[in-house]
């Protein structure tokens, strides 16, 4: 946990319109990497499910790397900070 940070896992346009199913699919995807649905729920920060598909989760570098290699994943992006202008 000490080595983990928030990452955005971007999956592109929504593959279907049901937000609940989309969130379930995000948990399932994360569970394949972290080992369990319970842990996936714990690590999940947001499920992006209305305007596009993806999620934010607290991940180690190696988990982020594994996710980025999945064919359904467009990009895994480390969380960053923006500034007001």
């Amino acid at each position: 946990a000490a080595n983990s940070r928030v990452h955005i896992v971007y999956l592109g346009e929504r593959q279907h319109d049901n937000p609940k199913l989309l969130t379930d699919s995000h948990h399932d995807l994360l569970a394949t990497i972290v080992g369990s649905k319970e842990l996936a729920s714990e690590l999940m920060v947001y499920s992006y499910r209305h305007g596009f598909s993806g999620f934010a989760a607290k991940l180690t570098e190696s988990q982020a790397q594994k996710l980025s290699e999945l064919p359904s994943v467009v990009r895994v992006i480390p969380n960053s900070l923006h500034k007001l202008q």
């Binding site: 947001y46 969380n79 007001l84």
Partner: protein
């Protein structure tokens, strides 16, 4: 704001302008992703507004000092907050003692931007007497949906910092797209190095927003006047630079010999009648900047105005520090005013309005110094003034980030400029600089909601226009000259005529944008073409657009993306570029091309006339550009303009010739 809308040609008194033709943006929902809102501000009253638009599906959340029932109304129709990304990233608990754990704005920035975009009418507003008038937003009848993503965090050592996490920003996009906003305004940016679109949360969120017909307006950033600093560069975003307007708040400096100069200061205190004026010699005359080297004798300075020269230059922070130190020394020694002479190309740093800290250039500073040298008892009188109107030249602001676009040089950024200097708008009552609930602020944060407000007016008038069509309307009709008719300058070192890398098409011209004649539109196919040109792979593009995509073997040219600008970063052989325009004016119209050729190039357009009728609404044309000289150059600028006798549809041309592959920047 009390002046910028008049400056932009939208006075509320005029019944014929687009403010009235658009019912002041009624029915349009502007989403503001920022630091929240102070809902009690008079700028968010809902007097005269009809019911909440039927396409609204969002919510108002209650929270810390925020009651959805009380604080949301027919103006603020949505208010939510997102902080989980920031919290989880931080690891240990965030110190939010300077925050409200709700959509309520502790900082003031979000209240300022929201009221600039869509604030209601409030009479008799000023900031310490400056900028007095009726204040309003660009689309006073548009509705606001607030998404708070930026938080005042108290860090170790008691430093208060504003943090906006990308995971939270993206969640705000996700919800806003569900909620039914029509326009999104983000006065948020990133620093260099910028990330490619699929690594950039704002580019990702805005891509999906634009795909749903939602226009996204973003700040260009405040890293000017340095080149290649513009942020939010994705071609589907409207990227906004900041300009001054035809109002300034100088302070007059009248010397004992009756000569008067004007300096830059937002001084709101009472006039300083004739007081003694001194120039303290420095302890170390070689010290850089001088200001920091002041060692002021209290008996010498008390009750006097001090003249000062600083040699610090180039960095706003460094100049600010130098002047801050000098100011502290003068106040400490009992002085009653400070005149700082600094490099004329440097930004005028705003200071506490109650104490006169007046910034002049070296020329005026030297004249004041000569006066001090010429008399035994030099005197000076300081008096605040407000100037409004034509004699003031309009400039691209010093701080406004500049192109070229460091990610995709062939995509012109910024797109457009709008007023962003000394903008008076509502703020949070937690903002230490508020005065009656309002304050002056400067930044591309302030110019961005001006454009968002104008987009709301355009949406109300033309609900079927795509985000690309709206962007085209703004860019092709923008002002390249100020109200005086003279070309617009860009502040910087040194001041120069503004070019497309400073202000895109120019300063936004809302009335003309409502009737642009022709638009350069981009649909899904155009964005796929861009993604292919940017070398994204087929499977990524297929997922992003949810459409099976195979990019052509011959990579499409970014130059052919149907944008309202042409930027060629490396012209060597003649190149032919494709564009198409859609007629949104009178069906029967003939447009003829005129070209302002960039220096050292030959430009031709084929065909040179476009004939539209009731069945032909969209026409293609090509532009061929070749270099005359065969050497590396910097950028030269020109334009291509289609005219039908009523409309002028101008796009900027920016061309750099490159014959040897090394960096000429």
């Amino acid at each position: 704001t009390t002046r910028s809308w008049d400056f932009l040609g939208l006075p509320s008194q005029s019944p014929s302008n687009i403010l009235h033709k658009s019912s002041m943006g009624d029915g349009v929902i502007i989403g503001v992703i920022d630091s929240g809102i102070w809902p009690e501000s008079k700028s968010f009253n809902h007097n005269g507004l009809g019911p909440v638009p039927s396409h609204w599906k969002g919510i108002c959340e209650s929270g810390d000092r925020s009651n959805a029932t009380i604080h949301c109304n027919r103006k603020i129709i949505g208010a939510r907050r997102f902080i989980d990304g920031l919290r989880k990233e931080h690891g240990k608990p965030l110190n939010l003692s300077a925050e409200f754990l709700s959509s309520r704005d502790a900082h003031g920035h979000g209240t300022h931007t929201a009221s600039t975009a869509a604030g209601s009418f409030v009479t008799n507003v000023s900031y310490k007497g400056l900028g007095h008038g009726t204040i309003k937003g660009g689309a006073p009848n548009a509705r606001l949906a607030i998404y708070k993503v930026c938080w005042n965090v108290l860090e170790d050592g008691n430093a208060l910092v504003l943090r906006c996490s990308s995971a939270d920003v993206l969640k705000a996009f996700d919800e806003a797209l569900h909620d039914g906003v029509d326009v999104l305004s983000l006065s948020i940016g990133s620093s260099i190095p910028l990330e490619q679109e699929v690594h950039d949360d704002i580019a990702i969120g805005s891509f999906h927003a634009v795909a749903r017909g939602i226009t996204v307006v973003c700040a260009a950033g405040n890293h000017g006047p340095l080149a290649e600093t513009v942020s939010n560069t994705a071609p589907w975003i409207i990227t906004v630079a900041a300009s001054t307007m035809d109002r300034s708040f100088p302070t007059s400096i009248t010397l004992g010999n009756n000569k008067t100069f004007l300096g830059q200061a937002m001084f709101t205190g009472p006039e300083i009648g004739f007081a003694s004026l001194i120039y303290p010699e420095l302890d170390d005359p070689t010290a850089d900047g001088g200001c920091q080297s002041l060692s002021l004798d209290k008996t010498m300075v008390a009750g006097k105005v001090v003249l000062y020269f600083t040699r610090v230059s180039g960095s706003t922070a460094a100049i600010g520090t130098a002047i801050t130190n000098a100011l502290a020394a003068v106040i400490e020694a009992g002085g009653v005013g400070l005149i700082v002479a600094k490099n004329p190309s440097d930004f005028s740093v705003p200071f506490n309005e109650d104490f006169p800290c007046i910034q002049v250039d070296y020329e005026i500073g030297t004249q004041i110094l000569f006066y001090i040298r010429s008399t035994r008892f030099p005197l000076v009188k300081l008096r605040p003034k407000t100037f409004i109107g034509k004699p003031l030249s309009v400039k691209v602001a010093y701080f406004s980030s500049r192109g070229p676009n460091s990610i995709t040089p062939a995509i012109l950024k910024p797109d457009i400029a709008a007023p962003g200097v000394n903008i008076l708008a509502a703020t949070s009552l937690r903002d230490p600089l508020w005065e009656g609930g309002y304050r002056m602020e400067s930044g591309t944060s302030m110019s961005t909601p001006h454009v968002a407000g104008i987009v709301a007016l355009l949406k109300a008038m033309h609900p079927n226009w795509s985000p690309a069509a709206i962007k085209s309307a703004l860019v092709t009709t923008a002002w390249r000259n100020g109200p005086s008719g003279l070309p617009i300058f860009a502040e910087g070192s040194s001041q120069k005529l503004a070019n497309p890398f400073d202000f895109g098409g120019g300063i936004v011209n809302p009335s003309e944008a409502a009737d642009p004649g022709l638009v350069y539109d981009v649909g899904k196919a155009g964005y796929i073409q861009y993604l292919c040109a940017m070398d994204y792979n087929n499977s990524d593009i297929t997922r992003v657009v949810k459409q099976n995509t195979t990019c052509p073997i011959k990579k499409p040219s970014i130059l052919d993306m149907n944008l309202p600008s042409i930027t060629i970063p490396n012209l060597n052989n003649p190149i032919t570029i494709e564009r198409s325009v859609t007629n949104v004016g009178a069906p029967e119209s003939i447009y003829r091309a005129t070209i302002e050729t960039p220096f050292g190039t030959i430009v031709s357009v084929n065909p040179s006339a476009l004939v539209f009728n009731s069945t032909v609404r969209k026409l293609d044309f090509t532009i061929t550009i070749s270099a005359i000289h065969r050497m590396n150059t910097g950028y030269y600028f020109g334009s291509l303009c289609w005219a039908d006798g009523v409309h002028l549809v101008r796009i900027p041309l920016s061309v750099r010739t490159v014959f040897a592959p090394y960096d000429e920047n």
